[in-house]
């Protein structure tokens, strides 16, 4: 392990002491009670840099139990340094089982994607959030954004979308696309592609969002209405891909562009590596059978 120093992981289950976990759980409960509302919490130092998703790590530490099965993804992949390190961290400090299969996991910590395999009741999806405030783009004053949330003054979000259309002819925002949760709070879904936004809507899983540096936790309880903001004459649309995944042939999944050589060769493959590998394995089994 490079960035995470294991000697710093003490003897407490899931690293954090019980009092800290209780404090974070209280914030999570409040967040669940007020869907989409950003709850401040006393974010702790974790034995890893902020950019590694310490908010998500603290939320996971507060909700995980010894019988849980953990999956960690980074941009859809289970095998990046970040994902591998966080998975190893929890294996060490909570001695939990880990998996790369979405269907087997009870807790999934994610940076920038929602798995393609549909989530079910009982699963918890924990998002790592860099900037929790969706209004910050146009209103840097924290006191003012708080008032705007309290009074449900969200016209500014549409100013941002208006600018997109004025300058690009369409809503060009493709990541961290703002949503309205349960008809009340406007929320930043973290930098997931807008392709994933519809998966948040009425999801049977519990979705928790943790921002470590900004000390905020927010949540979408299971089966909650989540709408992407748009205009009547420029309705919300997800990214479309002309071709299927070059490796597993999947359509209607989010694809990453991979550069093959310096002569312009490229291909599009699943961003969700576990889903892609499972489909390839299934296809091989079928061919063999």
């Amino acid at each position: 392990m490079s960035a995470v120093t294991m000697s710093e992981a003490g003897t407490n289950f899931a690293y954090l002491d019980e009092e800290t976990k209780r404090m974070i759980r209280r914030a999570i409960l409040k967040a669940i009670a007020i869907p989409g509302y950003q709850v401040p919490f006393a974010s702790r130092e974790m034995p890893m840099p902020y950019g590694w998703g310490t908010g998500g790590v603290q939320v996971t530490a507060a909700v995980i139990g010894p019988d849980d099965v953990l999956k960690v993804i980074d941009q859809g992949a289970d095998d990046t340094t970040n994902a591998v390190s966080i998975r190893a961290f929890f294996r060490k400090v909570a001695r939990v089982a880990v998996t790369t299969h979405t269907a087997e996991a009870t807790v999934i910590q994610t940076r920038h994607r929602i798995p393609e395999h549909p989530l079910i009741e009982g699963q918890i999806l924990v998002y790592q959030v860099p900037i929790p405030e969706p209004l910050r783009f146009l209103e840097p004053r924290e006191t003012e954004t708080r008032t705007m949330h309290a009074l449900e003054e969200y016209g500014l979000m549409h100013v941002k979308l208006y600018e997109d259309i004025a300058h690009h002819g369409r809503i060009a925002t493709s990541y961290a696309y703002p949503v309205k949760v349960a008809g009340r709070y406007v929320m930043d879904p973290s930098p997931i592609p807008k392709f994933d936004n519809p998966k948040m809507h009425l999801s049977p899983a519990l979705q928790l969002f943790g921002a470590g540096r900004e000390k905020r936790i927010y949540a979408i309880p299971p089966h909650t209405d989540v709408r992407s903001l748009d205009f009547e004459d420029h309705p919300f649309e997800i990214q479309r891909f002309d071709e299927p995944c070059a490796l597993c042939g999947a359509r209607n999944v989010y694809l990453d562009e991979v550069i093959l050589d310096d002569r312009g060769g490229r291909m599009f493959v699943c961003s969700d590596t576990d889903n892609c590998e499972s489909r390839q394995a299934d296809a091989q089994k079928e061919t063999a059978a």
Binding site: L138, L151, G155, L156, V159, Y162, E232, D233
Partner: protein
């Protein structure tokens, strides 16, 4: 619907510690009326404007406003949500420095459209059409709709700020030295524009200015302030042509005669 004054101020006062900001100010503002508050810097005119427009809380007195439903309300008793809604729908506020009233980081079109979006308009085409219409009315080339105000001259910025305020058809507009930072020729054009809009839209305006020529050109009635108090008020022509207070006489004698 009851017809009566749009805004009623009674004994309005505000202190900063022991120092008087303004005190004992009373007047009625009628629909379609332009009231100029004139005085030198430090006379309390800006403090008064901020108290009237709820940007500051007055320490004394009451300000009553007749809402769109015809009901007169004590502004100090409005909830925060109601107050903010009033400020971005039925009121406008034109700052001396356009950067204080504009969003400098977004396009002219978005600046004009923001209030429409704030009150729930969700049709891009209609918002844009409305923004184009308002740019026209304030004599900004529609080709500039996607440019940011940073790229605009001072006069254009001020005209954009006015358009941004008027898009929701407010009945009352507060103006704080709107021609303050502009060249004389640019001032004249802006005053012409404001005078035309006020007349065409039947706006009520409370305008703060140190410039008696601005008051002469725009206002029906004026109040002269000195050391936080209104020392003389009346029809603008009467006050300027026949000032009764020695202080007003001094102010009037200092403007070059046209």
């Amino acid at each position: 619907m009851s017809e009566g004054p749009l805004l009623i101020a009674r004994d309005v006062g505000k202190n900063y510690g022991n120092r008087i900001g303004c005190t004992d100010v009373s007047f009625d503002l009628w629909p379609g009326e332009v009231l100029a508050i004139v005085g030198e810097s430090g006379s309390g005119k800006t403090t008064l404007l901020n108290c009237l427009s709820t940007r500051l809380n007055a320490d004394r007195g009451t300000v009553t406003y007749r809402m769109r439903d015809g009901v007169a309300r004590d502004l100090a008793a409005l909830g925060e949500a109601e107050r903010r809604f009033l400020m971005r729908t039925d009121w406008g506020f034109v700052h001396q420095n356009p950067a204080d009233g504009l969003r400098m980081g977004v396009s002219a079109g978005a600046n004009v459209g923001e209030r429409l979006m704030a009150v729930g308009n969700r049709h891009y085409g209609r918002i844009r059409h409305c923004a184009e219409d308002w740019l026209n009315r304030v004599e900004i080339d529609v080709d500039r709709i996607d440019d940011r105000p940073r790229a605009f001259s001072g006069g254009m910025r001020q005209r954009l700020q006015i358009a941004r305020n008027l898009v929701t058809s407010p009945r009352l507009v507060f103006m704080d030295e709107p021609t303050g930072g502009l060249d004389v020729s640019v001032q004249a054009r802006l005053l012409d524009l404001v005078r035309g809009l006020v007349r065409d839209l039947g706006l009520s305006v409370i305008i703060v200015t140190h410039d008696l020529a601005v008051a002469r050109l725009l206002s029906h009635r004026m109040m002269v302030m000195k050391e936080g108090r209104v020392i003389e008020q009346g029809l603008t022509d009467r006050v300027l042509d026949d000032p009764r207070e020695p202080y007003t006489q001094l102010l009037v004698s200092s403007i070059p005669q046209a």
